[in-house]
């Protein structure tokens, strides 16, 4: 419940503060979102599995976002930013799908 409220609070803060993203950071935003979603779904699944751990969740969230952004940054510097972005999205997408499938099994027993 608190988790849900925190999420809502973040959304409300984003709406109210109307932050502008520096141009240099804009390419990393979508990747950061996908990485964050991966951490969130991983956390939800862990919760349902009964093995949720706060430290693990926070660290996976922060490191996911940073590593994903760093990989894309590295790719940009090497001239393969687009391909590496695709790679990151594919890997994280696979993980999200797997975790959501596990969540679904928990919730619907199917």
């Amino acid at each position: 419940m608190i988790a849900f409220l925190a999420l809502i609070a973040g959304v409300v803060a984003g709406v109210l503060l109307e932050p502008t993203v520096p141009v240099g950071l804009q390419p990393y935003l979508p990747i950061a979102v996908v990485a964050a979603l991966d951490a969130v779904f991983g956390g939800i699944r862990a919760k349902l599995d009964g093995v949720f751990d706060d430290k693990q969740f926070v660290i996976s969230f922060v490191s996911n976002v940073i590593v994903a952004a760093f990989i894309v940054y590295l790719g940009d510097q090497l001239g393969v930013g687009g391909q590496l972005s695709t790679g990151v999205v594919v890997v994280l997408g696979v993980r999200i799908f797997g975790n959501v499938a596990a969540i679904r099994r928990h919730l619907f027993r199917a």
């Binding site: 608190i2 988790a3 925190a6 999420l7 809502i8 609070a9 973040g10 959304v11 409300v12 803060a13 984003g14 709406v15 109307e18 932050p19 993203v21 804009q26 935003l29 979508p30 950061a32 979102v33 964050a36 979603l37 951490a39 969130v40 991983g42 699944r45 862990a46 599995d49 009964g50 093995v51 949720f52 751990d53 706060d54 430290k55 693990q56 969740f57 926070v58 660290i59 996976s60 969230f61 922060v62 976002v65 890997v91 696979v94 993980r95 999200i96 799908f97 797997g98 975790n99 596990a102």
Partner: protein, 293 residues
């Protein structure tokens, strides 16, 4: 679940098939490790649990924040892109309309010049005929006659064999040099007047490529290109024997460009919208009897 079966202290290894592992086992093993630690050492002290709760709350707030920011960015970028595109389309349309307008105006003024010329020459039929001839030779007056039409076309769009749709591969295009070679070949075969897609060539005409378009006298012309030339009866035969025609046939074989010639009587080539000379001045005596030819 499968992760929970991991024993504490058991060494975790990546399966030889890492991708398969990734697909079948997407949960961070860290959760299992943490659960195992809790099972071994008992629950954490309350102050740590409270700290962890705060951290978790902050992380989730950050996730929500991130989602909103990303959504706002995407939403803000979209109208930018479409409005920029629409603006450019509008600009192009306006410019085209303006060009057409100016073309009409130029045609009207040329007609006026002709009328004034006739008046100035006092209706002397001989003088008038001479002026007409000069203008026709210079490309500033429309001409008719029989000649040849050379047709050049870009290669057809390559079809992707798997989808059956046009593939994104680059189309082989007719280049400015191809047109130049054909025009030169026609001049060499004694053509007296040439136009490309209704654009009459003069002594100062340019044929060049700009991006994907070919510009003739800075006006874009597009495939198929019809090079019409008025000349002697054997113009087609002579052109077909020329180096230009031979190299075009080679391009047809290699790149699939379109290339054909046909004889045509009663060709009518328009006048060039020629701007006249801006820097060069006629040299020598103004006497009409001692000029070119």
């Amino acid at each position: 679940m499968t992760q929970a079966s991991q024993r504490p202290g058991e060494e975790r290894r990546f399966a030889p098939d890492f991708l398969l592992e990734l697909f079948s086992n997407p949960l961070d093993p860290g959760y299992a490790d943490a659960a195992a630690r809790r099972a071994t050492y008992g629950p954490k002290p309350p102050w740590r649990r409270r700290g962890a709760l705060v951290l978790r709350t902050m992380a989730l707030a950050a996730v929500g924040f991130l989602l909103v920011v990303a959504w706002r960015e995407a939403a803000a970028a979209e109208p930018d892109r479409t409005s920029a595109h629409a603006g450019l389309v509008d600009e192009v349309k306006t410019a085209q309309e303006r060009t057409d307008e100016l073309q009409v105006q130029s045609d009207r003024l040329r007609q006026e010049v002709r009328v004034q010329q006739q008046a100035a020459l006092g209706g002397s039929a001989e003088e008038l005929a001479r002026v007409r001839e000069r203008e026709a030779a210079a490309g500033l007056a429309p001409v008719t006659g029989s000649g040849v039409v050379v047709r050049l076309a870009d290669a057809p769009v390559p079809i992707d064999p798997t989808t059956g749709k046009p593939s994104g591969a680059e189309v082989s295009r007719v280049l400015d040099v191809d047109l130049q070679a054909v025009v030169n070949g026609l001049w060499a075969a004694d053509a007296e007047a040439i136009s490309i897609n209704g654009q009459r060539l003069t002594s100062t005409s340019t044929i060049r490529t700009a991006g994907h378009a070919v510009l003739v006298d800075f006006r874009p012309v597009t495939s198929p290109y019809e090079v019409s030339a008025i000349g002697p009866d054997n113009l087609e035969a002579r052109f077909k024997r020329s180096v230009a025609a031979a190299s075009m046939r080679e391009l047809v074989d290699q790149y699939g460009l379109g290339f054909s010639t046909r004889e045509e009587s009663g060709l009518r080539l328009p006048a060039s919208p020629g701007t006249g000379l801006r820097y060069a001045r006629p040299a020598g005596s103004p006497s009409p009897s001692r000029g070119v030819r």
